[in-house]
């Protein structure tokens, strides 16, 4: 006798039969499902959080810390209005960034979305007022969103050799009118807030006993052709000032890069901003101050930073 003969397989066995459940209560009860979906009202897009242009720009800059000076440079280049291609090529030239995943056109579009740049739609009016007026007039007939479409339709109707009427007309894509990009006030404010010597001075005088290190890094990067990372590391890592607490060159380089004093151009190179800080007399003032009153480290040094920075800023502004 085989096992199969010993057991009876009951295909009709229903484990829920003894529970006396109604059809509606059973999970396996057959029910045709028909739209609309009961929870369709949950399919909503949350309202966008309204941010001011200044907030959006700050968010963009803080989201791309390695690119912030490139972004700000793009805004600066658009102080006078430029076409997208002009602005992109100027940015490529002024701030080449071949390793960035954002090309210059994308950078400009990001800035436009953040409110640092504005798009001047009817820039062609500057070149040809009559043409521009005509475009707007046709656009107004077709509605604001359809301006670009309405114009070619109207033109096609007038010019079509087959005499296509409105009923039989087609619309086609016409190239976007040459628009220009110009920096907004919020964009210019962002440049003023981020690209200034005071920011660098404040940063590097937070712990002013490290000023000689910062000076050394700035001087090395100010050389013709910049300075490679290894050379900077060798010049800084072994300095007695970096022994306790242990600091490495990256700490100083990071602060300088973050404030726009140096930048990476295949080697580390000083920026114009960094160069003016170096020439401002900050480090000479520091060394003379050290000669009369040796600085203390830690919290007291940090607390002195603000007043020290103010003094240096006053010095640099008087020099300018």
């Amino acid at each position: 006798m085989s096992d199969v003969e010993a057991f009876v397989i009951d295909d009709d066995f229903d484990p829920l039969a003894d529970l006396d459940l109604d059809e509606g209560e059973r999970d396996d009860a057959e029910a045709d499902y028909l739209p609309p979906i009961p929870d369709a009202d949950k399919s909503v897009v949350p309202p966008p959080v309204e941010l001011s242009p200044a907030e959006r720009i700050e968010k963009l800059l803080s989201g791309m810390p390695g690119q912030q000076f490139r972004l700000l440079r793009a805004v600066e280049l658009c102080t006078e209005s430029r076409t997208l291609e002009e602005a992109a090529s100027a940015l490529d030239e002024a701030h080449p960034s071949p390793t960035s995943v954002y090309n210059s056109i994308q950078v400009i579009q990001l800035l436009e979305r953040a409110g640092a740049l504005e798009r001047l739609e009817h820039a062609e009016a500057e070149d040809g007022p009559a043409q521009g007026e005509g475009f707007r007039a046709k656009g107004a007939v077709g509605g604001s969103a359809d301006a670009a479409v309405a114009a070619p339709v109207a033109e096609a109707d007038a010019a079509s050799p087959e005499g296509e009427g409105l009923d039989g007309s087609f619309i086609s894509v016409t190239p976007a009118p040459p628009c220009r990009y110009q920096a907004t006030q919020a964009g210019l404010d962002a440049i003023a807030a981020h690209v200034n010597e005071d920011r660098i001075v404040h940063k590097i005088t937070e712990e002013k006993h490290y000023l000689p290190i910062f000076q050394r890094v700035l001087e090395m990067t100010a050389r013709e052709g910049g300075c490679p990372t290894k050379e900077l590391d060798a010049a800084v890592d072994g300095d007695p000032l970096c022994a306790e607490p242990r600091r490495f060159c990256g700490f100083f380089r990071g602060k300088l890069e973050e404030t726009g004093a140096i930048e990476w151009r295949d080697t580390w190179a000083i920026t114009d901003l960094g160069r003016s800080v170096l020439a401002s007399g900050l480090f000479e003032a520091s060394s003379s101050a050290e000669g009369t009153a040796p600085c203390s480290s830690g919290a007291s040094a940090s607390s002195d930073a603000a007043s020290f920075a103010e003094g240096v800023a006053a010095l640099s502004s008087s020099e300018r």
């Binding site: 739209p35 949950k42 909503v44 301006a147 087609f170 619309i171």
Partner: protein, 252 residues
């Protein structure tokens, strides 16, 4: 059906096939350079008599006319925003699957997918290895209609009206049982999630075209059903011509 009427019907069927192909491609993947070049060289009908189709074409054409810079990236980002989304609650995008819109818990690979799979297999179709999504994806359902259209055209060219009728009937049934049973809900979602007018316009265009196509198929099939009634046949062809207006987009 007279010879002239057949030619008219074939033209309309070709237009429908092209439109199904066009829509299927737009839903399948992001716009690439080749498709973009095609789009900007196309002529879109301005007045088809269907408000949704007209508005859809105008939105697409309007977006392409105003777009500048890195259009492909912008469209690719919006494709993700429209069809993939960033949430996991089932309500974060216009998910392009029939199962999502026809199952209570908005899940993929549900009964609807099994049903369309049976229909595809019955038609002798199998998905390509490269296709990794569910078979109830809107792009596949539209492509299925396109294939049925192609077969109907071939049957008509061979003079096999019965086969053509059967294929048109299959198209209408598939349209009613599947595409039109859920796509309008997706079309509503497509007005919420994308940011560009391109995908919003695509949502409207597809919605209008599918409704238009059902009217066309109803008209053609009811005309054929009247057999020898000449008035019925004529009516079907006229209606076909007007209903097929939505399929007139052409490459310049």
């Amino acid at each position: 059906m007279s010879h002239d009427q057949e030619i008219g019907l074939i033209d309309v069927l070709r237009g429908r096939r092209a439109t199904y192909q066009f829509l299927s491609r737009l839903f399948r993947t992001e716009v690439d350079q080749e498709l973009y070049d095609t789009l900007v060289s196309m002529r879109f009908p301005a007045n088809t008599g269907n408000a949704l189709v007209d508005e859809g074409y105008r939105m697409i054409c309007g977006y392409l006319s105003k777009a500048s810079g890195d259009v492909l990236t912008e469209l690719a980002v919006d494709y993700v925003r429209a069809f993939i989304g960033s949430g996991n609650d089932g309500f974060s995008a216009a998910y392009p699957y029939e199962s999502v819109y026809t199952s209570p818990k908005r899940l993929m690979m549900q009964d609807a997918r099994d049903e369309v799979l049976v229909l595809y297999r019955a038609a002798g179709l199998a998905k390509q290895e490269s296709w990794k999504e569910g078979e109830d994806h809107i792009a596949l359902e539209l492509e299925f209609e396109q294939i049925l259209c192609e077969r109907a055209i071939a049957a008509l060219e061979d003079g096999d009206e019965d086969a053509c009728h059967a294929l048109l009937l299959s198209q209408r049934n598939f349209l009613e049982d599947h595409l039109l049973a859920w796509y309008p809900m997706m079309a509503a979602d497509l007005q919420k999630f994308p940011r560009t007018d391109f995908y919003k316009g695509l949502g409207k265009l597809t919605d209008g075209f599918l409704r238009n196509d059902r009217e066309f198929l109803d008209a053609v099939l009811s005309g054929d059903g009247e057999g020898s009634d000449e008035d019925g046949g004529e009516l079907s062809c006229e209606t076909a011509a007007s209903a097929g207006g939505a399929s007139k987009a052409e490459v310049a």
